[in-house]
Symmetry: C2
Subunit: 227 residues, 2 copies
């Protein structure tokens, strides 16, 4: 499938590499391709900057946000939270219309250090903001509650015996995303929590996740919904 | 042990009944004993009002918030979120000083219907507000992420293979609460997430829990932290 991924951080890198490995036709989108390739060294998370990562992954196609979004039959939003709305605007509303948009972004606010707070929560969510910005896109909030490596390899933790919660207004889009994540990555338990307002649940869960990450000093930590 | 329980809703009822059954010396505290006993019928959650419940549980001692708090070597805060700070003020600061206070309350705001939002979150929490109100109490946020029946009988769901997260500033108090919950109720996995600011994590998780409750139409739903 043709997939556009917006955002070249760790989430975008891991998703793009895995989806290309699985045979999908991916464009990884960024604001400025040459500027992204020029970033080298190590970022504040201890990860290689995009330019260094890309030297080892140059088989992956790069493009602008608009080129990625136009390319994708589905698109995935993997930006940092504070860049999310700018990225979808740069992607061009028409390039998302009628298409599934998997929104992975979280509204983390690091302006007061670690642990971050959320820039929106409780009575609104970033998922809802994206859906309001792109009323013709089929926004499915997904993957925002887990680490990038766990997204594409759920069996890497606890044999895959844990849960993923998704949200969105379009039942058909949620069913397709669920089938895709099960088939492509091996997810076992995906819970459709409801309409896009339920994205508040997984975004607010970040307040727990970020502290579990800190406590166990390992981002490979997640939840199983026991019922 | 002498235990004071503040709050006569479902959480207070279930905890009081179980702790008395286990041999503890409990006073269940309320604002006005006679008014509580006079409430009959069914409440908005479909549960019997306190007066009807108490007819079948009259072996449990009742008292004012202050009588309960003075009685307890440990106290438990089982009020609704909007009544929490009033209850601890009515309980009397001196009656909590130097004692463990297990804070179970959640800042749920039903003023806009269901699902509720939170009246405080993100950069503060009800647990922190209680600790600020009672600086000499050893506040341990606990149990606020699970249904009352699951609190006292964790094995009733998934064989008990799920997690409880606690928060508080006093390491010794958290260790004692952890040992108590394991010994008395059979909890298996209790995670000390950190100081009382980490109560934000479990309180904000309510945004997920309340929607899982709605989706599965069953309050017996919780999480296992997979790591």
């Amino acid at each position: 499938m043709k997939i556009g991924i917006l955002g070249t951080g760790m989430v975008g890198q891991v998703l793009a590499a895995k989806l290309v490995e699985l045979g999908h036709d991916v464009i990884l989108g960024t604001r400025n391709v040459e500027a992204s390739k020029a970033r080298t060294g190590t970022n504040s998370w201890g990860q290689p900057e995009f330019g260094d990562w890309y030297k080892a992954n140059s088989h992956i196609k790069l493009g602008t946000f608009a080129e990625a979004a136009a390319h994708g039959e589905w698109n995935m939003l993997a930006t940092s939270g504070h860049g999310t709305l700018d990225a979808v605007r740069a992607g061009g509303k028409q390039n998302f219309a009628g298409k599934v948009l998997v929104d992975i972004s979280n509204p983390l606010d690091f302006s007061n250090g670690f642990p971050p707070s959320l820039s929106v929560c409780n009575t609104d969510s970033l998922g809802e903001q994206v859906q309001r910005e792109l009323p013709d896109a089929k926004v499915v909030k997904a993957f925002n509650m887990v680490n990038a490596y766990l997204m594409v390899d759920p069996k890497a933790l606890g044999g895959g015996d844990h849960s993923l919660i998704i949200s969105g207004n379009d039942a058909d889009a949620k069913a397709k995303v669920t089938a895709f994540l099960k088939q492509q990555f091996g997810w076992q338990d995906i819970i459709d929590l409801g309409d896009i307002t339920t994205a508040r649940a997984t975004e607010m869960y970040l307040a727990m996740w970020i502290r579990l990450f800190g406590k166990f000093q390992n981002p490979m930590v997640t939840i199983k919904i026991v019922r």
